[in-house]
Amino acid sequence: MNVLASLPFFITESILIAAGFLILLLDLFVENKKALGWLAFAGILVSAFFIRVPAEPQPLFFGHFLVDPFSVFFKTAVLGIMAMTVLMTLAYKALPPKQEGEMYAILSFLGVGLIMMGSASNLLMIFISIEFVSLTSYILAGFEKKDPKSNEAALKYLLFGSVASGVMLYGMSLIFGLTGTTELLGIKAAVSASALNHLLLLAMVLLMVGFAFKISAAPFHMWAPDVYTGAPTPVTAFLTVGPKALGFAVLLRVLMTAFTPFIFYWSAILAALAALTMTFGNVIAVSQTNIKRLLAYSSIAQAGYILMGAVAATQIGLSGVLIYIVAYAFTNLGAFVVVIIAANHFGTEDIESYAGLAKRSPFLAAALTVFFISLAGIPPLAGFIGKFYVFAGIIQGRFYALAVIAALNSAVAAYYYFKVVKQMYFTEPKDCAPLAQPFPLMAALGIAFAGVFILGVCPAPLIELARVSLSF
């Protein structure tokens, strides 16, 4: 499809781009940066209004950008995550006031990049979109210019990210050399036609390394804890959810479209990655004393669980990936909202500062507890539905050893989540002043809280949505 014919299917993205430029422009004149934040929020809402599932998959821009149920699913998820992030940024105190406007512009562009990742059906487009998302993420991670930790985060992210991109690009060039195409469907045809080509297999593995970096799967997770700890908290919340979710989207699309004949190999690789990732994340999380770092390791572990769904690559497992991502997004974003509220008040992210939170702000403590319970995968909350589905996927695919590893991991995870809960409920507070609860944060918290409950108790619509969105 040519560019002009593509535009009617590109309205959501166009609005986001326009909003981004508008914010960039207005940033020069407008003193009240919060207004720009609300503008970004409005842009997201308006663009969400134009989300459509086309009757037939639409290959836009000469087949580089595919609009199908799968990409629409992730597009919707991206907009939801963006909206939450903007709400969080609006009430985050540690941001340099002058630059706050830029943040909203970058976020809007980043949203477009993420949508591109979910829709790319061509290796070239995949690389560009991943690089776009990465570069903007580096900037966001280093947004607190005066804070050395934030700088460290940005630099570390950049260095690790560049290496991963290089490896991935090397894999892509091999694939192009061997198959003569960058189209995923074309690659599939080439892979199916020939006998097992070891070089092609190697290329696939190199490609997977790049994706593993994006989803912070062990052993390519080294950047994550420092970046997640150093970045401004709303950015951390965003990074643990947005690029990670879309990393899974790309991973699934590439493996399920281009490399289905290699399923035996990539399934084994993913199983190993999953086991390693969840074990590593959980074991290290246990000894953390900073809540951001704890959530950083927890988010590594969560990526391991999500990977389990892809290991089995059955319909249940794959919808499990999508369900888990949505559940995880609500839960993790919600948890970070409470972390921001607490950090605004305490000025620190030590778990010890949460002592007696249940007495100071009962709702905040209860909400964070609910999010942790959901992350631990205990019913009847959203996280349990996700975990149930990925477990179902691997049991169906008979990966019993992985299932046992995951079960043991879940028990370890509960331990450190409840370490925070213990602080909030069992320890006496130092003073009893309730925490300030600014409107944007409480709105985000309300959305996450309701989402975690509703998805947990009535998961059927989400499950159905995930099922019809698997349109490979």
């Binding site: 019913p379 349990f384 169906q396 299932a403 046992v404 043991l408 409840f418 213990k422 069992f426 059927a460």
Partner: protein, 490 residues
Amino acid sequence: MFPILSATVFLPIAGMIAILLTPKTQTKLIRQIATGVSAVVFLLSAIATLQFDSGDTGMQFVEKVAWIPQMNVFYHLGIDGISIPMVFLTGLLGLLACVASYGIEVRVKEYFALYLLLLTGMMGTFIALDLFLFYVFWEVVLVPMYFLIGIWGGPRKEYAAIKFFLYTLAGSLFMLLGILALYFNSDPHTFDMVQLAAVHPYSLGFQKVIFLALFLGFAIKVPIWPFHTWLPDAHVEAPTPISVILAGVLLKMGTYGFMRISYPLVPDGARWFGIYMAVLALIGIVYGGFVALAQTDFKKMVAYSSVSHMGFVILGLSVFTYSGFDGALLQMFNHGTITAGLFLLVGVLYDRTHTRDLNSFGGLGARVPVYAAMLMLFSLASLGLPGMSGFVSEFLCLLGSFTVYKYITMASCAGIILGAAYLLFMMQRVLLGPLNPKWKELPEINGRELFTLVPLIVIILLIGIFPQGILNLFGPTTHALVDALGGIAR
């Protein structure tokens, strides 16, 4: 028809919401709401028991609505002879422990909100007929229990709370894997316990694996030796009413799981593991008894006696005979009433003296005669005095197992002797001898405390004198289960 089971399960949730909306200074109102709700729940469970048709071995009061159609998950409730005693027990102890909770004075609002959530979880576990739903309720119990031990417990409450939580969670995750494997190996895929029990088309090897996975979940809850180490910590540290619920209801969730899920769904696996269950039961009975004998902490002694008494349930379940299963189910009920009473009595004493050291008491029999009488009644019931309920069920368990494992049964009888030893030794140290001058002003047991104890003693005596009443209630169902398992009709 009035959905009596749904009402029983979800009324406490409604109560919890009402309590959350009440200002926390209104402690009296909060207590009234909690008591009112648990009273109605008890009433509903009693009505269900009265309306229960004991001749029908199928499910009764069934409610079934599609919940997650993509996975064939149903909101499916129902009770049969195996669940009805447990539902009644939960309703009864739910009310009594709620009244016993009036002594809780800090963070009253949170306490009763969590307490009612706990009640929902327990009730749901005993009446869910869909494995998914069962798992949900099973896990819902964990969270409020963690807080109830961790906030209102004794000196080592935090350790006890997280230990309980992690042990049970680890076990139940393996149970979840087992449930999923059952689901994917049934055709059509289903979580319906009744359907799965009717077909169970699995190979022996598969059944063994599943039994083991489920076993981890249930055995930790019972607890079967060597998975019992969380129990003394949790029972001792928990506040009195929560110890009552732990010993009275939560432990039964484990043995109920065996009767409801493991046995009917993987019968060949269950039979294969029978002898191992019997050996573990024996170890639990004797080990629990000896350790109880060595305790100087009153509450810890009662806690270890639970390990011993629950061993009889497992022994009865390990043999697949009519009397063994009857005994096991009756022992579950009786242990619930007797041990609940003992924990309440420990609490009564602790509230007044702030110590549980058995050696610091002495001669209380003369000072507080009513309390002494109560303690004697419950202790004698616990040690299995004929004429009281504990005797009937332990006798049935041993009778049932004797036909299958003679030597194990003979050795298990040591548990009864040990029971007599530690309970009589306890009574001697608490009630007899010279009065410790520290307690010469010790006030007598009060009316509210008696209110929580008297219904239990009435039930204990009723079952002791006329066990046929309750045996007729669930007998047909347990016998049908034994028949389905290919057991011995004796």
